[in-house]
């Protein structure tokens, strides 16, 4: 049964508009970028769950896995990610409803962990201690004045309140620099390995901030993408404000939501207010972005200046994750979820959908995935790809399974089946 949404209802997909479909041949053939030989490399999958972190390791064949954890047992691990500049440096967002936010860090690939600045100060003048979890909004007179409130669920203005870090994005070039996407939505940066964090206030201050309002999961900045060809260009996504871009390293930002259409907001084509769930790009072609919106799978060929829908023949285009093949920029993966009211796969069948044409034409990938009685969800940060020659795809579920495909999605195997609910999955490809 194909289900599509219309004004919040599900209808037959044949009634959908296709006026904004792309012409498939308009894009260049897939660019094959250099991968890593499977026999010489290994992978490290970083899994954040509701009750701790797990590290899954395998050689390049990705057949046998070592499961290491739980690290930070009992804490919610919203996200953990390794530095591209130093794979031994891993940043972790560790949170708790009781004890708040912690930032943890490893400098040895996850063998040991430290809290930056969490130890006693050895000498006066060293880093101020205990500030790695101090996320304080910029309230300076120059930029703080328009940043005091955002829109609340009831339409009133509400003070910005830090709740947690959703996403940590390490710099491509410097292991001591990383970005944090937080709730209530803002982006922070550390340049000293996580000891201290400072807001890039131009995002909240660019003008639309007071109009942002939370989605059901809170007003969270959950996606940060750094353009590998231009580190000054950064994309972020906020639920439910939309996507934004800076071209000057975070000083100034602008909304990049043209072409998005969201029927659940008063003006479906508004400049902001869209519930973007995730954005992904291929490193070889960073101007081409793919987006899983609340409903709709979207594509931009100009760094987000304009989007068009590429949901095509998906059975439902609601979902959270989206990712792009490491070496084929036109090969995209999503996990369709039935609807915004029913966060599980359609018909109890867990299916990854792959498009080899940059969208619109999708095929269901089912081999090795449960095809009956499956009612898990796959959350927005819970899919990743490795860089091996035969690209590996990984995703985790709220049922605690982490699935891996060593053949670009053709077949799947569970690495583990019974972890706590998976919040995030990242993968490091190691030489």
């Amino acid at each position: 049964m194909k289900m599509k949404k219309s004004k919040g209802r599900l209808t037959d997909s044949k009634t959908r508009r296709h006026s904004n479909r792309m012409t498939i041949n308009a894009h260049p053939p897939a660019l094959k970028s250099a991968g890593m030989a499977s026999g010489l490399s290994s992978v490290r999958v970083l899994v954040g769950t509701r009750k701790g972190a797990f590290i899954l390791e395998s050689d390049g064949k990705r057949e046998k896995w070592n499961v290491n954890g739980p690290h930070f047992a009992g804490w919610e691990i919203y996200h953990m990610k390794g530095s591209p500049a130093d794979p031994n440096r891993i940043y972790v967002s560790q949170t708790s409803g009781w004890f708040g936010q912690l930032i943890r860090r490893s400098s040895d690939g996850g063998k040991t962990w430290e809290t930056p600045g969490g130890e006693k100060v050895p000498q006066p003048g060293d880093f101020p201690s205990g500030q790695s979890n101090k996320f304080v909004y910029d309230t300076t007179p120059e930029t703080g004045k328009p940043l005091t409130t955002h829109q609340w669920y009831d339409g009133t203005q509400h003070p910005w309140e830090f709740k947690r870090v959703w996403h940590l994005e390490p710099s491509i070039t410097d292991p001591d620099t990383a970005y944090a996407g937080i709730e209530d939505a803002a982006i922070f940066r550390t340049t000293n390995g996580g000891h201290t964090w400072h807001e890039l206030a131009g995002l909240r201050g660019h003008g639309t901030g007071p109009k942002w309002q939370p989605g059901a999961g809170g007003l969270c900045l959950h996606t940060i993408l750094i353009d590998p060809s231009d580190p000054g260009r950064i994309y972020v996504a906020i639920s439910a404000a939309g996507a934004f871009r800076t071209d000057d390293g975070g000083m100034t930002w602008k909304p990049i939501n043209q072409g998005l259409r969201s029927k659940y907001i008063p003006d479906p084509t508004a400049e902001i207010g869209h519930c973007v769930h995730r954005i992904a790009l291929n490193k070889a072609r960073p101007n081409v972005l793919f987006m899983q919106k609340h409903w709709d799978v979207m594509r931009s060929d100009n760094a987000g200046d304009m989007w068009h829908e590429v949901s095509g023949n998906l059975p439902t285009d609601f979902g959270f994750v989206i990712d792009v093949h490491a070496h084929e920029p036109e090969t995209v993966y999503v996990v369709p979820i039935k609807s915004d009211g029913e966060h599980f796969p359609m018909d109890g069948k867990l299916r990854v959908y792959r498009s080899r044409t940059g969208g619109n034409e999708w095929e269901a990938l089912t081999k090795g995935l449960p095809q009956r009685d499956c009612y898990v969800n796959v959350l927005r940060d819970a899919m990743a790809v490795d860089q091996l020659d035969s690209c590996g795809i990984y995703f985790g579920t709220t049922g605690g399974q982490v699935y891996a495909s060593a053949d670009a999605g053709d077949t799947w195997e569970p690495i583990v089946r019974d972890l706590p609910a998976v919040l995030s999955v990242e993968v490091q490809t190691l030489q």
Binding site: S96, W98, F99, Q101, T115, E119, K134
Partner: protein, 98 residues
């Protein structure tokens, strides 16, 4: 010495077992005890009270001498038994669940 009992997760973070003891200069209050704990264990900064406002985190409670001191002013003196080390100052993670 002030005796302090931390919840399990904070003991893990601070890498301590059992009670901890801290020295407090001046009046023994919630604020001075928490200041002393955070000075000794910087990793606990922000986990019991807000970094900036110093307000107690909502699901943290402070007990002493069989009484709940959570809603007392942070500068109110704690019981003499806590100040003398006879009784511990207890940091509790509120019971929640279902």
């Amino acid at each position: 010495m002030i005796r302090v009992i931390l919840p399990q997760h904070l003991r893990t973070l601070a890498r301590v077992e059992g009670e901890v003891q801290v020295e407090v200069q001046g009046p023994v209050t919630q604020r001075s005890v928490l200041d002393a704990i955070e000075a000794r264990f910087p990793v606990l900064c922000g986990t019991m009270r807000d970094h900036v406002t110093f307000k107690r985190r909502p699901f943290i409670r402070f007990f002493a001498c069989q009484e709940d001191w959570s809603h007392e002013a942070p500068d109110s003196p704690l019981p003499e038994a806590v100040a003398t080390g006879t009784e511990p100052f207890m940091v509790i993670g509120a019971i929640a669940g279902g």
